[in-house]
């Protein structure tokens, strides 16, 4: 029982990071029906900004987190302006290719600066509480609570504010939203910035939890978060959260009860089966075809 609880806690920590990154994929897809494959690398940039602010400049945790989020958000908006906006009316495959290019650019740019993996020294004092054989570290608690807090904040923002309403309107019908006088370009930039900012926050938390960072760290995590978003139902915010926690749980539990060599094989087979049954993901809905 303790063993299961410990593994569930591990799953919650991993899942909350996947979920935060998955939100970036889902928001961009929701508003532009485009998959921003550079998002995993924005997450990596978030971790490197955390290294710069927290270790090189020696800032405490909260300013580090805010700086990394702001930096990633700005970069996200800039990338949208420079790399995706000119392609908005291009065939749908073009921005996807551009996104892959942007991702490779970010990786190799970071690599060119310094190829060495970096160690993020702990920014927070770590306590380990043992409750009935289950170890909980303060870091683990902070990651889980902070991720859930950010997700709730995003949910409120999208559903309760004017900007959020505009985002939803544009995702429903961009051409008509523009005719109604909505500043489409500005809202799209804001969506990118928010998604990237959440990715940056995930980068910080990942960097603290797994404190050796390198320029390629975003690739695998990015893919897994993307898969989470699709499984949850891409375009749906609740779906991305659910998908992230689900993938974290499946990965950890498969490793816990099967030989760990089977982990990725079994977990991705399960997800494939799920998608065959529900091709739009758990919470996704088919888009109405516009005529």
């Amino acid at each position: 029982m303790n063993y299961l609880l410990q593994q569930l806690l591990n799953a919650l920590q991993l899942g909350s990071i996947y979920a935060l990154i998955a939100l970036g994929y889902t928001m961009v897809y929701g508003i532009l029906t485009m998959i921003n494959f550079a998002h995993g690398d924005l997450f990596m940039i978030g971790a490197f900004l955390c290294f710069l602010a927290g270790v090189t400049l020696g800032l405490p945790f909260v300013p580090t987190l805010l700086l990394s989020m702001a930096g990633a958000a700005m970069l996200g908006a800039v990338i949208e302006r420079l790399a995706y906006k000119p392609l908005r009316n291009a065939p749908r495959v073009s921005p996807i290719i551009t996104a892959l290019g942007v991702g490779l650019f970010l990786e190799n740019f970071t690599l060119a600066l310094n190829p060495y993996p970096k160690h993020i020294a702990p920014l927070l004092p770590t306590h380990i509480w043992t409750v009935g054989g289950v170890s909980v570290s303060s870091l683990q608690a902070i990651i889980i609570v902070l991720s859930i807090f950010l997700m709730v904040l995003l949910d409120l923002y999208v559903n309760r504010t004017m900007t959020g309403m505009a985002m939803r309107a544009i995702s429903w019908d961009r051409a008509n939203a523009a005719l109604m006088g909505l500043p489409v370009d500005g809202i799209i930039s804001a969506t990118f910035a928010i998604g990237a900012g959440l990715g940056g926050a995930a980068g910080v938390m990942y960097g603290l939890a797994y404190p050796v960072i390198d320029p390629y760290m975003g690739i695998m995590v990015g893919w897994k978060a993307f898969i989470s978003a699709v499984v949850g139902g891409i375009g749906s915010i609740h779906g991305a959260m659910l998908g992230g926690f689900l993938l974290g749980a499946v990965e950890v539990l498969v490793a816990a009860y099967f030989p760990s060599t089977f982990r990725d094989f079994v977990s991705f087979s399960l997800l494939l089966v799920l998608l065959v049954g529900r091709p739009y993901g758990i919470l996704g809905k088919p888009r109405p075809q516009k005529v």
């Binding site: 063993y3 410990q6 593994q7 591990n10 799953a11 920590q13 991993l14 690599l111 190829p115 060495y116 993996p117 160690h119 020294a121 770590t126 380990i128 043992t130 170890s135 570290s137 870091l139 683990q140 990942y206 939890a209 797994y210 404190p211 050796v212 390198d214 390629y216 760290m217 690739i219 695998m220 995590v221 990965e251 950890v252 539990l253 490793a255 816990a256 030989p259 760990s260 060599t261 982990r263 990725d264």
Partner: protein, 388 residues
Amino acid sequence: MKKTALLFALSLAVAMVFSGCADTSGPTVKVGVIAELTGDIPAVGASCRNAAELAAREINDAGGLDLGGKKYKIKLFIEDNAGKAEQSVSAAQKLITQNDVVAIVGPNASRYAVPASEIAESSKVVLITPWSTTPKTTLDARTGASKKYIFRACFTDPFQGRVVARFALENLKAKKAAVLYDVASEYNKGIAEIFKSAFEEKGGKVVAFETYTTNDKDFSAQLTKIKKAGPEVVFLPNYYSEVPLQVQQAHRLGIKVPFIGSDSWGSEELVKLAGKDVEGYYFSTHYAADAATPAATKFIQAYKAKYNTTPDDVAALTYDAFGLLIQAVKSAGKTDRQAVRDALAKIPGYEGVTGNMQFKEGSGDPIKSAVILKIKDGKFAWFANANP
């Protein structure tokens, strides 16, 4: 007029590309180096490059190699394999066909050395890997016989796995061990399996044998499983960039038993990345800088003076790989590829920085001993020797 000028400039550029940066100051011994300068283990590549440059400079400053009355300078062609198997292959091809090297030193990690060795073997060019310990590097996968042109400066994993298993049983008095290793990496997988069979052969029991794949960062599920199995020692035959994450996560889960490792721990980056989390742990490796022979001390001082850091095992082994190669070129008396290979295979014994070595009959694997290092106050300290 403009067109002719452009054409002229273009042909000049093409000529420059094909001639390379031609050094016309006399005859040279061209040696290729393939190192992991970027990618996941850049510290390994940097050590390899530094030691190669040091070895070449020492010979060139002394006037060069005397072959048949003529002084030959060493000319290095250093290629970055970016920590990728396919780039190791193309680097080997480029060095052999385009740069026309006599022999290649590197790559270091087994997962790059094995593919590069295939190219060298089929092109009949000597390749000496400083650091690749997997048996597959020098063995032909199809026939199981030794490759003719592939050599190494280090011991092999079967030897190292047994050394670590014996150390865990005898010195640490551990009867139950756990292993966590990268199943996608040649080296990690091979040594983990040898450790397991050697440990159980000698009466111990491996209670958890857990895997992950390259680039994983979260090991919590596997470590929780290890904790539940209750080992007395945990063996992590993984690279210096991954071990810090593994020990930190293990400590956070409350695993308190000692951790031991293999020669992939041997970079000072390990301590930089892991800090106090690896203090007091042990690993097996090729040499101990603090218990060096006089020959080794000379190398260590020269390296320190030049690069301002203590040479790690990769640097020492690269230096030895050059030592072996140069001795072979000397005794061959010419820079012919086949002659160098034959001379290298016949080297009776070589006293290197990492100890004495000689090649087994008909094989590129040297017979040499290992050392166990302990991490003490953030430094690697000699703890014990282990002979074959």
